[in-house]
């Protein structure tokens, strides 16, 4: 394919060595100066193995072996594609090579192929442990022949997913400007994660009905013959031809073998040169010509007006502004936080669509329950997600400015940033949710809205006060081993929030609700005072514990 094997080997060796030495980030560029994790691959293997338990599901519920495999491969393909889009975009569009490899006499095809292979090796490393449980189950069901056969289609599956995503990226590169490419990828990733989440919750209610699966006849969905995952499943024809219910299954298995190679040839032949060329243009230092006219002095923007309205000290105004602006523009922040907004709504509607009530009667039915509390407490996820992500950035070194400025205490900055997140992300949700709650449950639910909002704000602030006292955009992004801890912390935080919601659910007396609202606000006031008076010493303790 026109690639230089020596170059390819050299590039891959270095890339894989670097992967093993950097924090467990699945190819994401995350700086961490303190610790080096050498055996990231082993840890990834163990993690993937446990994730693998869910892939047994289609193998157990379906009767037809081809359908079992079709289910398994579809699940794997969706998740692999998702993983590729979220975790490997950085490897695929890594522009650091521009200074290191591009100036050397290495051909475009070699660079392109080195990236493909790099991702493939990394990916196969995680596909293998992920499907290990399914492999064992398959071996138990179909004996040693089945066990021997199992990894072959997986190999093709990985390649097909890989080339599918690369094809999409190449197409994106063709239709977008190189400098906008990373933004487009960012939005693509957000959209894709919402899509996967929504699909999952739309399919979940169906999954509870096991009988449907067991009586499922593959002949009623003969169209699956046209899907690549069925082609992969049809490789089972090599072992058990008689079990094939659909005609032409044997021929389709040949397609499973050929497709990845055809895709490889097409991408390397047609996409590689333009891909590398376009890639060189990403992150270019070419400054765009200014499009807009320079703004007139004194013409205030919304964030400035809000910063002045809600903050008295200069430090908190600065904290408010930086948090507001950075969160609007940081791709990493949007990637982590924005999908969560959609999750809240999707999850809420999933719960109601699952009740088998006609849409016309839905609001009527809702108003008879007290589920508005669920919705009110669920919005805490928005605030929690926004404030806990506003401290991390790849540009954490730019935070030197806080330390050289004459700030008596960093707490004011942190307070301003917290307010910005509350107003920018939480308040609009609360307004929308309040409108919805008052429409369905009536004015009587207003006290619930007030109590829940006070509780959520207090609770999130307590969490920040105890475990996340940092200046906005001043901390390096966490490596995955630590990120796991963060996810766990988040999970516990949400569970505790759920308990709080349940306690609220149990309260029927109006006077008690009013009393609790006052207590909650008083608590909020006290914690807030502590938070905005955080000293440099306390900040240092929090940074050391990070």
């Amino acid at each position: 394919m026109g690639a230089d094997v020596t170059h390819l080997k050299a590039i891959l060796t270095v890339k894989l060595k670097m992967d093993d030495r950097k924090p467990l980030t699945m190819g994401r560029q995350q700086p961490n100066k303190k610790k080096k994790i050498k055996y990231a691959s082993t840890v990834a293997f163990i993690l993937s193995f446990f994730v693998g338990f869910m892939y047994i599901f289609p193998l157990v519920v379906f009767e037809d072996p081809y359908l079992k495999l079709f289910g398994l491969y579809t699940m794997l393909t969706v998740l692999l594609t998702f993983g590729l889009v979220t975790d490997f975009s950085n490897v695929l569009v890594d522009t650091r090579d521009k200074l290191i490899i591009f100036p050397k006499p290495v051909s475009d095809r070699t660079i392109f192929l080195s990236r493909v292979l790099h991702i493939f090796i990394y990916f196969f490393r995680s596909v293998f442990p992920m499907s290990l449980m399914a492999w064992i189950v398959w071996g138990i069901l179909y004996g040693w022949k089945g066990a021997l056969w199992f990894p072959i289609p997986l190999f093709f599956l990985t390649l097909i997913s890989l080339f599918f995503v690369m094809g999409c990226y190449s197409l994106l590169l063709k239709i977008t400007k190189p400098e906008k490419f990373k933004d487009v990828i960012g939005y693509f990733q957000i959209f894709f994660s919402i899509l996967v989440f929504t699909t999952y919750y739309m399919v979940m209610p169906q999954m509870r009905n096991q009988e449907v699966f067991q009586q499922f006849d593959i002949k009623t969905i003969a169209w699956i013959k046209y899907t690549p995952t069925y082609w992969l499943a049809s490789c089972w024809y090599w072992v058990q031809p008689k079990a094939a219910a659909l005609t032409g299954t044997g021929w389709l298995s040949i397609l499973a073998v050929l497709t990845p190679f055809i895709m490889l040839w097409v991408t390397v032949k047609f996409f590689a040169p333009s891909f590398i060329r376009k890639l060189s243009a990403i992150d270019g230092v070419e400054v765009e010509a200014p499009k807009k006219r320079v703004k007139q002095e004194g013409k205030s923007k919304l964030y400035i007006s809000l910063a002045n309205m809600f903050n008295r000290s200069n430090a908190s105004k600065a904290g408010f502004s930086i948090a507001w602006l950075q969160t609007s523009r940081s791709r990493a922040f949007k990637m982590r936080v924005y999908p969560g907004f959609a999750y809240v709504f999707v999850y809420f509607f999933y719960l109601f669509l699952n009740t088998n009530v006609a849409f016309a009667d839905l609001f009527e039915k809702m108003s008879q329950t007290r589920s508005h509390l669920f919705l009110l407490y669920m919005t805490s996820f928005i605030l929690l997600n926004a404030v806990s992500n506003m401290n991390m950035t790849e540009q954490y070194k730019a935070a030197w400015i806080y330390y050289t400025s004459p700030l008596e205490s960093p707490g004011r900055i942190m307070g301003g940033a917290f307010k910005a997140m509350w107003i920018k992300y939480y308040l609009p949700f609360v307004i929308v949710v309040t409108g919805f709650v008052l429409y369905v449950w009536g004015i009587g639910a207003l006290i619930d809205v007030v109590l829940a909002t006070a509780n959520v704000t207090t609770y999130v602030l307590i969490l920040m006060y105890l475990g996340n006292r940092h200046l906005p955009f001043s901390m390096p992004e966490q490596m995955k081993t630590k990120a796991g801890k963060a996810v766990l912390k988040m999970l516990f935080a949400i569970i505790f929030m759920g308990c709080m919601g349940l306690a609220h659910y149990a309260i029927y007396f109006m006077w008690l609700k009013v009393l609790l609202t006052f207590i909650s606000i008083a608590l909020l006031w006290t914690i807030w005072d502590g938070y905005i008076n955080t000293s440099w010493k306390q900040l240092k303790i929090a940074e050391d514990a990070y």
């Binding site: 400098e179 230092v285 070419e286 400054v287 765009e288 200014p290 807009k292 320079v294 703004k295 002095e297 004194g298 400035i304 200069n314 430090a315 105004k317 600065a318 502004s321 930086i322 602006l325 950075q326 523009r329 940081s330 540009q395 070194k397 730019a398 030197w400 400015i401 806080y402 330390y403 050289t404 400025s405 004459p406 700030l407 008596e408 955009f473």
Partner: protein, 263 residues
């Protein structure tokens, strides 16, 4: 005349490693101090102590009659710092970034706006004032950092490699700016590797190596009639081995290997 910065017995250790070893230095108002030294000599650590980033040091630092340890905020207000490597929040526009930094120094919005527009105009960035800095070149970022360090009109300006990434015209502009700031009575603490610039702009040159000051005086005093350039003085004082010999062995490393063909 009273020194504006007086450093006595400054020592800083990281574990067992002594990064600054008993530094004693007086800087007078209106002086340009060229602070030079090889990599890892302790230049940046000195700057970090002076700017209040590092606070666990031993020794005493008096700035304009105030003890750095006791009046940290007052001292920070007097200092304008321009770091090397152009580290800034580049998702912001110069206007937003300078508004942010000016606010941290407690400046009024109108004053920030007025000074920022003038400064960016002088740096030739007035058209880029509302453009995000992520598409800026290193030199453009450095100019924004220079503006941010001078925005609050500090009496002491600390510059860490301020010319890195700047084009020839911008270098001339900054050199001229240093002279103007000096005329206004500002004190400039200038860290750099660019010996020719240090030689030309500095009133006093301080040479630091392995955490210790090994030379301190005007350029004329340092060369003491020898006719050497600052570069030669620097290498003589800081390099034990012969540099020419090293350059020779580097060049021969490419030709000694018989298997390597010339491309």
């Amino acid at each position: 005349m009273e020194p504006i910065i007086s450093i006595s017995n400054l020592t800083k250790q990281y574990g067992d490693k002594t990064v600054l070893n008993n530094i004693n230095l007086d800087v007078y108002p209106g002086q340009i101090i060229g602070y030079i030294g090889p990599n890892g000599a302790g230049k940046s650590t000195t700057v970090k102590v002076l700017t209040g980033v590092i606070q666990d040091y031993t020794g005493e630092i008096i700035v304009a009659g105030k003890n750095l340890r006791d009046s940290l905020m007052d001292v920070k207000r007097m200092i304008g710092y321009i770091p090397e490597l152009a580290e800034l929040y580049d998702l912001l526009t110069p206007r937003e970034y300078l508004n942010f930094t000016g606010t941290l120094y407690g400046m009024e919005a109108s004053l920030i706006e007025e000074r920022m527009v003038k400064m960016l105009d002088s740096f030739g960035l007035s058209e880029n004032i509302d453009q995000r800095m992520d598409s800026f070149s290193k030199g453009m970022r450095q100019k924004v950092l220079l503006a941010s360090g001078l925005l609050h009109n500090p009496s002491i300006v600390i510059l860490d490699e301020p010319l890195s990434g700047l084009d020839a015209n911008a270098v001339i502009l900054v050199k001229e700016l240093l002279q103007r700031l000096k005329q206004e009575g500002k004190t400039i603490f200038y860290c750099s590797h660019m010996m020719d610039v240090v030689e030309k702009v500095s009133d006093t040159i301080v040479l630091i190596d392995k955490g210790t000051i090994i030379a301190n005086g005007s350029f004329a005093e340092l060369r003491a009639g020898s006719g050497e350039s600052l570069e030669q003085i620097f290498s003589k004082l800081t390099m034990a081995d012969n540099l020419l010999e090293k350059a020779g062995s580097l060049a021969s490393a490419m030709t000694d290997n018989t298997n390597t063909q010339q491309l």
